[in-house]
């Protein structure tokens, strides 16, 4: 168990280091960021002062070392726009993003797992096909279109739901659904396939043969085993999809989270914010993946032992 955990941690650390380095190279690739950001109309002294202010002097190598030192002590530079540490700028928005993420993942789990089980049980009847059609639609409709259509119907026509902000429960409904569309599609599909794999196995027939009720067979013997796969999918796929989705959904609904911040930073070229935001999201995804890997191994002795 310990060597396996160590490997997961080391692998995550290497990935994070590589991501930090790549974002650094990327933000320095296009020349001095100050030039692209501030453009013309600066005196030479003012320019030099700003370069010093944002610690962009020195060779690329010195900048890289400074960046790594800063990263280790939790300093990632100042936002070009806010003139505040990017850690604060991003930190302010963490909770709003977290709320939306939790709501979406919650909705996804509550809907997808029963739907997936139903689709597996009734795969030959119209119920199964209907569920899979809905899951399919979730894949095909981009989240921004889902959001736009909902805004059109529920805000402009029916006047039921607010479009902008995150003040009340009503504010959560549309963003959560828009973000969950793809997640529900993915998780329903995986749950169904995992259930089909398990339900076809011998021990399920044995459970039925010894007279257990169908509900117990499906839930206790079937889902308990399929659940391991499902949990791993929630961690591995849903984390990435949600991070990508939050960028779109937050900027549509003016949700004061990290996704909206990143789109704005990209549009106005506030590189320090963009760089740190990408690192934060990558760290979140890598950590979630690592936790998934570990819990996967904890739950399933086959993996723990096989990989040792």
């Amino acid at each position: 168990m310990i060597p396996y955990l160590t490997r997961v941690v080391v692998k995550s650390a290497i990935t994070l280091f590589a991501i930090a380095t790549l974002t650094f190279i990327a933000t320095r690739l296009s020349g001095n960021p100050i030039d692209t950001f501030l453009g013309e109309g600066l005196t030479t002294e003012g320019r030099l002062e700003l370069i010093r202010y944002f610690q962009l002097d020195g060779t690329l190598w010195q900048q890289y070392l400074a960046f790594l030192r800063g990263a280790l002590s939790g300093e990632f530079g100042l936002s070009f726009v806010d003139r505040r540490p990017v850690t604060e700028v991003v930190g302010d928005r963490l909770w709003a993003s977290g709320q939306l993420l939790l709501a979406s993942v919650g909705l996804t789990v509550v809907l997808s797992i029963p739907l997936g089980i139903i689709a597996a049980l009734y795969r030959k009847s119209w119920i199964g096909s209907a569920v899979m059609m809905v899951a399919f639609a979730g894949y095909a409709v981009p989240s921004f279109i889902l959001a736009i259509i909902m805004i059109l119907i529920f805000s402009y026509w029916l006047n039921w739901l607010p479009v902008v902000g995150n003040g009340s429960f009503l504010h959560f409904i549309m963003p959560t659904i828009a973000m969950s569309g793809v997640l529900i599609a993915a998780l329903t599909r995986f749950t169904r396939n995992a259930m089909l794999d398990v339900l076809g196995q011998d021990f399920i027939r044995t459970a039925r043969a010894k007279g257990l009720r169908e509900a117990r067979v499906v839930l206790r013997h079937g889902f308990s085993n399929a659940g391991v796969t499902v949990i791993s999918v929630i961690g591995l796929q849903v984390a990435g999809l949600a991070a990508a989705g939050s960028v779109v959904v937050e900027s549509i609904f003016s949700w004061p989270g990290i996704g909206q911040l990143l789109v704005n930073a990209a549009l106005i070229r506030d590189y320090p914010v963009l760089q740190f935001g990408v690192i934060v999201v990558a760290v979140a995804v890598v950590i979630i993946n690592a936790i998934t890997d570990m819990s996967y191994a904890l739950v399933d002795p086959r993996i723990r032992l096989a990989r040792n």
Binding site: I19, L29, A140, P142, I145, L152, Y156, L274, V278, V285
Partner: protein, 291 residues
């Protein structure tokens, strides 16, 4: 793995209903591709032609409809249908170019990883893992913001978007094939790595790659229109389906048709392409046939 005792020709397992859906999907895909290719010929108005006297006119069948503008006009009096079809054309061109670049990069790296093995394979596969770890929308945001969103940069970004999927598929297939007797026979007969790859491995990769290419097309359409929607992809005034939805958002309460036509085209495109992709995958993947 397929059981050797299984009959060669399997009984039909799809119902007529799904066949029907696939036929519709193929028909929609063909119509969309044809109208995109011939967009400059069949559209009555240029995508950038403005007419301030006929601004914000609704589509056919509504009051104040201006004849000729079937899907209405936008805030500058441009014909929404003409713009949408030109946008579709650009979106499809970008999607094909992106999927092709991804296929070339991913296919080559996957082939190298599968054939060479050792540290080369480890390096390539850890790159794959890394790309999976970061949501690609973020990478795209970073690149487009840094390099500006010209069409060239956009094509490259869309190309990088899916390479890791190709690389995984190709590597796995190459590993599987390498242990099969006919490849071993080729090695034994003195075939070099390039000859073996070209003559014996590639032909077997065609069908999984075709499936992946189709699915990648639809993913890239979604990615491109999302980026253009956010203002980071295709730049106005050039029409793209995503940017039309993004810019038309401001007029949604009074002129929803500006948004609805391009949105409907995006959904029709991704739907039909994904149904096609699923259908191709079902046909190509023997393991799925029992489901």
């Amino acid at each position: 793995m397929a059981n050797l005792a299984d009959p060669v020709s399997r009984p039909r397992r799809k119902t007529d209903r799904t066949d029907f859906i696939q036929k519709i999907a193929i028909a929609i895909a063909v119509i969309l591709v044809v109208s995109a290719v011939f967009a400059p010929v069949i559209t009555p108005f240029g995508p950038l032609d403005q007419s301030l006297l006929s601004r914000l006119r609704p589509p056919l069948g509504f009051e104040r409809y201006l004849s000729g503008h079937l899907a209405g006009t936008d805030e500058l009096g441009r014909d929404v249908l003409s713009r949408s079809l030109h946008g579709l054309r650009l979106t499809l061109a970008l999607a094909f170019a992106g999927a092709l670049i991804g296929l070339l990069i991913g296919g080559t790296l996957g082939l190298i990883a599968g054939l060479r093995g050792g540290w080369v394979e480890d390096a390539i596969m850890s790159l794959v893992d890394m790309q999976i770890a970061i949501p690609f929308t973020l990478i795209a945001l970073l690149i487009l913001s840094l390099l500006g969103s010209s069409l060239t940069v956009l094509v490259v970004v869309l190309g990088i978007a899916g390479w890791e999927q190709y690389a995984r598929i190709v590597r796995a297939e190459v590993r599987r094939l390498s242990s099969l007797p006919f490849i071993e026979a080729a090695w034994t007969a003195g075939a070099g790595p390039f000859y073996a790859a070209w003559r014996h491995v590639l032909p077997n990769l065609v069908s999984p790659l075709v499936v992946q290419f189709t699915l990648a097309l639809s993913n890239i359409v979604i990615l491109e229109s999302t980026l253009s929607f956010l203002g980071l992809g295709v730049q106005p005034p050039q029409p793209s389906l995503g940017s039309m939805v993004g810019l038309g958002r401001d007029y949604m309460p009074t002129a929803p048709w500006i948004v609805l036509t391009p949105a409907a085209l995006i959904v029709a495109l991704t739907f039909s392409v994904q149904i096609l992709g699923d259908w191709l995958r079902d046909r190509a993947d023997v393991r799925l046939h029992d489901r």
